[in-house]
């Protein structure tokens, strides 16, 4: 038959050989990490770098063991702020994008304001919000939300508009209403764009929460970073930074899993 589709021949392999293949695939990255940590330990040892200036990997590991509870109890507030900021920031961005797509006037009126808000450095906004909302959770959540907001707004507007003229012609021939076009076409075609933004937001929301905790806070990983720095507890500082990175990677992974679950179709025409 002339038009038989040829699916990709590279199917994922299972079993032992699949595992071995995957391991061989990851091997260079693994070796590079081991090499970097090894040379870090070597430099610290060879030049007798004082621990307060730059601790070695072993000092950091020891800190994970000794200060485990401190890290654990400060991990949760930051997670809480980052996740709530992620939810609210993206939710508002998505709703605003939907409004913009349906109303040119709304887009013309509020898009420049959104751009302006995006140009303000988040570090400059943080003290203002702390002054207004105090040192509780609220200003941190707002800052985490603020940092997520803009990339999602831009991508979501683009995604909702990324419907080809031919598809709109098709929907017109079918006499589809605006709301049918929205629910059957626009929402679905915006998903790849949305998830591109959500992946960015999943790591930046952690940054937002930590930056907010730097200012007038006595809990969270951000506050722990400040405290460890002032007390020259460098191994704890490093351990905190790694914990924060781990938190960001965790959120990123969750968003990626949701993406592969929701977008099973291959987005061949999304660039």
């Amino acid at each position: 038959m002339a038009d038989v589709a040829h699916r990709s021949a590279a199917l994922p392999q299972n079993g032992f050989f699949g595992f071995a293949d995957r391991f061989r695939d990851k091997l260079p990255a693994l070796l590079a990490v081991i090499g970097l940590i090894g040379s870090w330990q070597f430099v610290v040892w060879a030049f007798s770098v004082p621990t307060y200036m730059a601790p070695g990997p072993l000092d950091v590991l020891r800190s994970f063991r000794d200060d485990g509870w401190t890290l654990w109890s400060n991990f949760w507030p930051t997670l809480f702020e980052a996740v709530l900021g992620f939810i609210f920031g993206n939710l508002i961005a998505i709703l605003l994008a939907i409004w913009f797509v349906h109303s040119r006037t709304a887009e013309k009126a509020f898009y420049p304001i959104a751009v302006f808000i995006n140009t303000i450095p988040i570090i400059a906004v943080a003290p203002i919000l702390v002054l207004i909302f105090g040192s509780g959770y609220l200003p941190k959540i707002i800052i985490a939300a603020l940092i997520c907001f803009f990339p999602t707004l831009v991508n979501m507007v683009r995604g909702l508009k990324a419907v080809t003229p031919a598809t709109l012609d098709l929907m017109r021939v079918l006499s589809a209403s605006q709301s049918e076009i929205f629910w059957k076409v626009r929402i679905q075609s915006s998903l790849p764009f949305l998830f591109a933004a959500l992946k960015i937001a999943s790591t930046t929301c952690v940054i937002g929460a930590i930056v907010a905790e730097w200012i007038g806070s006595n809990f969270g990983l951000g506050a722990l970073i400040i405290e460890a720095t002032y007390n020259f507890r460098s191994p704890l500082l490093y351990a905190t930074v790694f914990t924060a990175a781990l938190l960001a990677v965790m959120l990123f992974t969750l968003v990626s899993i949701a993406e592969t679950r929701l977008i099973r179709w291959k987005a061949s025409d999304v660039h």
């Binding site: 012609d169 059957k184 099973r264």
Partner: protein
């Protein structure tokens, strides 16, 4: 050359024909794009009657407005003047009543829906229409039995266009408007789909208007060929193809067929 014996020509065919036997009637239609200085006349004084149950191909140089005429019949393009009636109704009314379906050059399938869900789309929007065929049976009709669950990205270009044809047939339209549906396909696939389109036309009794820029395709498919001239788009000739209704690809090598294509080519050169 004795081509006229094979291809009867008439400027205004079927003028005396009973109105009930006319599927689409086009009267003195002008279509103009743009305003004032930048205005481009796409169609000028176009009149034609499409007999019910016939397969009419539309042929012409690029810019002759053959697609525009098809889109005007489908209520996708507004008329400057003149009148189009589709089964005695206005194009808008005919669209709302699902009297016609449109097949685009691109299959315009929704990439997140599998084959059968794409075929089902017309039943889910715009009121769904009154009559409908069984989507699974239509996929069988277009030769895609067993691929119901395949996503568009898993299908070849020819298979995608088959799905689009099945989708067009699901609301049991009386008229099928096809805008260069096989233009992007390779020749072998195209030949195969041409034969299958003829089979579907015979089995369903649908009136088909088929835009193409291929002379052999126009002659092979059409009972009539509407030849359009360009700048501005106007009717050059309404050619009746005197070949048996039952057609085979091998027929394209006969003298009769070659004489018809030669006649069409000469008409196009005069345009």
């Amino acid at each position: 050359m004795n081509a006229s014996a094979l291809a009867r020509s008439a400027a205004m065919p079927a003028a005396s024909e009973d109105k009930a036997n006319v599927a689409v009637s086009v009267r003195d239609v002008d279509v103009v794009f743009g305003e004032r200085d930048s205005a481009v006349t796409a169609l000028s004084g176009v009149s034609v009657d499409i007999p019910a149950g016939s397969l009419v191909t539309m042929l012409g140089p690029s810019g002759c407005g053959k697609s525009t005429l098809l889109r005007a019949i489908a209520d996708l393009v507004p008329l400057r003047s003149g009148e189009i009636t589709v089964l005695g109704r206005s194009p808008e009314q005919a669209r709302r009543e699902r009297n016609f379906s449109f097949v685009f050059q691109d299959a315009t399938l929704l990439p997140w829906r599998n084959a059968i869900d794409n075929v089902r789309l017309p039943l889910e929007v715009g009121g769904g229409g009154s009559a409908h065929a069984e989507p699974a049976e239509l996929l069988e009709l277009v030769g895609l039995k067993g691929r119901e669950k395949a996503l568009p990205s898993e299908l070849s270009g020819g298979m995608r266009q088959r799905v689009a044809i099945a989708r067009a047939l699901v609301s049991r339209p009386k008229i099928l408007l096809m805008d260069e549906p096989f233009g992007a396909l390779d020749e072998i696939t195209r030949d195969k789909l041409n034969e299958e389109l003829l089979r579907i036309w015979r089995e369903t009794g649908t009136t088909i208007m088929f835009v193409t820029h291929s002379i052999p395709e126009a002659a092979f498919l059409g009972q009539h060929v509407l030849v359009l001239a360009s700048h501005p788009g106007r009717v050059k000739e309404f050619v009746t193809v005197d070949l048996p209704a039952q057609r085979h690809l091998a027929m394209r090598d006969t003298l009769e067929f070659v004489q018809i294509t030669a006649h069409l080519r000469r008409l196009l050169e005069e345009c």
